[in-house]
């Protein structure tokens, strides 16, 4: 079974600047992969190459076995750009109609209605894009990316303009899409979101993959924290298997134990370790 997205040795140069320096990445079918990295790490370039907007200098990208940018590849993907605009004089329904026509979707009115409901825009069906908030436009962008029942979704910062409720809507939507077997490559700066929804994470720095894996695999133990009647004690070298002995020793020493936490690094810690504090 071909991967939804298979990237091999991808290099992209803009003059002297190397945006991607030999990236390998797989998104399996039905998998949700998060793409992280500081500004200028090459995330958007990678996504743009995958959807055929940018030509690679070297290497390959394939969508379900078809070369990125080919008609067959374009027919199977949905894309939301980081910076996008829809014609302001179109209504939400007309935007989806336009993309149905271009994607050769036969979903008709039913598909448009379902997609608008999916992104909580059912009530704004006849509202013009110019009259929508940035958050509503972003949700409409996600609905647009889902036109034509794509097998792979490439989302470039899909929640950057959303409020917390909007972000939660998108998070739930992504989980529902995974349930339907749709693969997603999610490029986002919001680490908490990536940690919550993604099966795997790839961190890019200066065009190279510096860390990759499941969020739980990337996280490392950071010790054990025990709350007693005297103080909260931290055992940095200890792990989960050491907890019974530590608690037993404290109780034997006359301490009262109120709580135990096994500490693990968050994705934020992993990210900061990987990029070394670089921001752009």
């Amino acid at each position: 079974m071909a991967a939804a997205l298979a990237v091999r040795g991808l290099v992209k140069r803009y003059g002297r600047i190397e945006a991607l320096a030999g990236v390998d990445l797989d998104v399996e079918q039905g998998e949700l992969v998060g793409l992280l990295g500081p500004n200028g790490a090459g995330k958007s370039t990678l996504v743009k190459i995958a959807c055929g907007l940018v030509r690679p200098s070297r290497g390959s990208a394939e969508i379900l076995g078809s070369p990125a940018g080919s008609p067959a590849a374009r027919a199977t993907l949905g894309y939301l750009a980081e910076l996008f605009r829809f014609p302001g004089w179109y209504t939400a329904d007309e935007v989806l109609g336009l993309h149905q026509s271009l994607a050769r979707s036969r979903g008709g009115e039913r598909e448009r209605r379902e997609l608008l409901e999916l992104v909580d825009l059912a009530g704004a069906r006849d509202r013009k894009v110019d009259a929508m908030s940035k958050g509503m436009q972003q949700r409409l962008g996600i609905a647009q990316a889902l036109v034509g029942d794509p097998k792979l979704l490439l989302l470039d910062e899909p929640t950057s303009a959303l409020d917390p409720v909007g972000r939660r809507t998108v998070r739930e939507l992504l989980e529902r899409l995974r349930g339907r077997g749709i693969s997603v490559l999610l490029n986002s700066h919001l680490l908490s979101e990536i940690e919550l929804v993604c099966d795997r994470v790839t961190i890019l720095l200066r065009g190279e993959v510096v860390a990759a894996g499941a969020p739980s695999d990337l996280a490392r133990p950071r010790g054990v924290e025990i709350e007693t009647d005297e103080a909260t004690l931290t055992y940095e070298a200890a792990g989960r298997e050491d907890v019974p002995q530590l608690v037993a020793d404290l109780v034997a020493a006359g301490r009262k134990v109120y709580g135990v936490s096994v500490l693990r690094s968050t994705l934020e810690d992993v990210y900061l370790d990987a990029v070394g504090g670089e921001t752009s």
Binding site: L53, L83, F86, P87, H99, R104
Partner: protein, 283 residues
């Protein structure tokens, strides 16, 4: 085919919203009104003029005034074509409008061809409508009709189609503003070359005539316009024809089937470069 129509409609709706059509319609009505007024007084005064020896004053006035209308028609058509296309690729890409469209299965070739067809589909009939309206005004007011009725109009429409293609090519590489300026300058340079050619013809300067011909072929928009002018007085003879060929409006010396063949080849060349550039362009 459905995708082509979708893109055509998309481009035209954008022009409608930007009031491109409203501006062009306003300018056109203004021009036709003034043109009628000019015809009315020109032909009224003509009856009181003593006819110079060897020159048919009505032929001269009619063809000169109608030639002026052809220039205005071409100019208005060029304005319309440029404003419909100047930001089609890079302009729309910079604003984030293009990317969601071209990642769809339609592809870049279909997109560019559809934008061209949409522009020609509007600007072509527009040019023909203004051309025939001007002809009717001159014919009914001054009782003068061109020697060729249809071909000059078609050549003006073809010239506007060429401008649309050049503008689309420019839009692949230039920002909307830079492209608009560049295409207007190319059009203007062609016109200036045409005028220089007329001067060269009057002065029997072969160098100027040759330079004008080269320029007309480099920008065949001008060559098509010159050929259209030549045809409205194709059957005119004698001193009247000679004076009209001095230009700038009543006639011309550049033209013939070579111009039309070259215009078709030129369109193909511009289209090929535009498509090649668009396919290689990072968006």
């Amino acid at each position: 085919m459905r995708a082509v129509w979708t893109i055509v409609r998309y481009g035209l709706e954008e022009a409608l919203r930007r009031k491109v059509f409203a501006v062009v319609l306003f300018l056109t009505l203004g021009f036709l009104g003034l043109f009628w007024l000019g015809n009315h007084y020109a032909f009224k005064d003509l009856s009181g003029i003593g006819q110079p020896a060897g020159i048919d004053a009505r032929d001269f006035a009619g063809s000169f005034i109608f030639g002026l209308a052809m220039f205005a028609t071409l100019f208005l058509g060029v304005v319309l074509a440029i404003f419909l296309t100047l930001g089609a690729v890079r302009g729309d890409a910079d604003r984030g409008l293009l990317q969601p469209l071209v990642v769809r299965p339609i592809g870049r070739t279909t997109f560019l061809v559809a934008r061209f067809l949409g522009t020609v589909g509007v600007a072509g009939p527009y040019v023909l409508a203004v051309y025939f309206a001007s002809m009717l005004i001159t014919g009914l007011t001054g009782h003068w009709w061109p020697d060729r009725i249809l071909t000059p109009g078609l050549e003006l429409a073809a010239a506007v189609a060429l401008i649309a293609a050049i503008s689309l090519l420019g839009s692949v590489f230039l920002t909307a503003t830079a492209n608009g300026i560049a295409v207007f300058m190319v059009f203007g340079a062609g016109l200036v070359a045409g005028l220089l050619g007329s001067i060269g013809h009057a002065l029997h300067s072969q160098t100027l005539e040759h330079a004008s011909k080269v320029a007309a072929y480099v920008v065949p928009v001008e060559a098509l316009y010159q050929d259209a002018l030549r045809q409205i007085t194709a059957d005119t003879t004698g001193l009247t024809q000679f004076v009209l060929q001095l230009g700038p409006f009543g006639g011309a010396f550049i033209g013939g089937w070579q111009v039309r063949v070259w215009a078709v080849a030129y369109l193909g060349l511009v289209a090929a470069i535009a498509l090649f550039g668009f396919h290689r362009k990072d968006l």
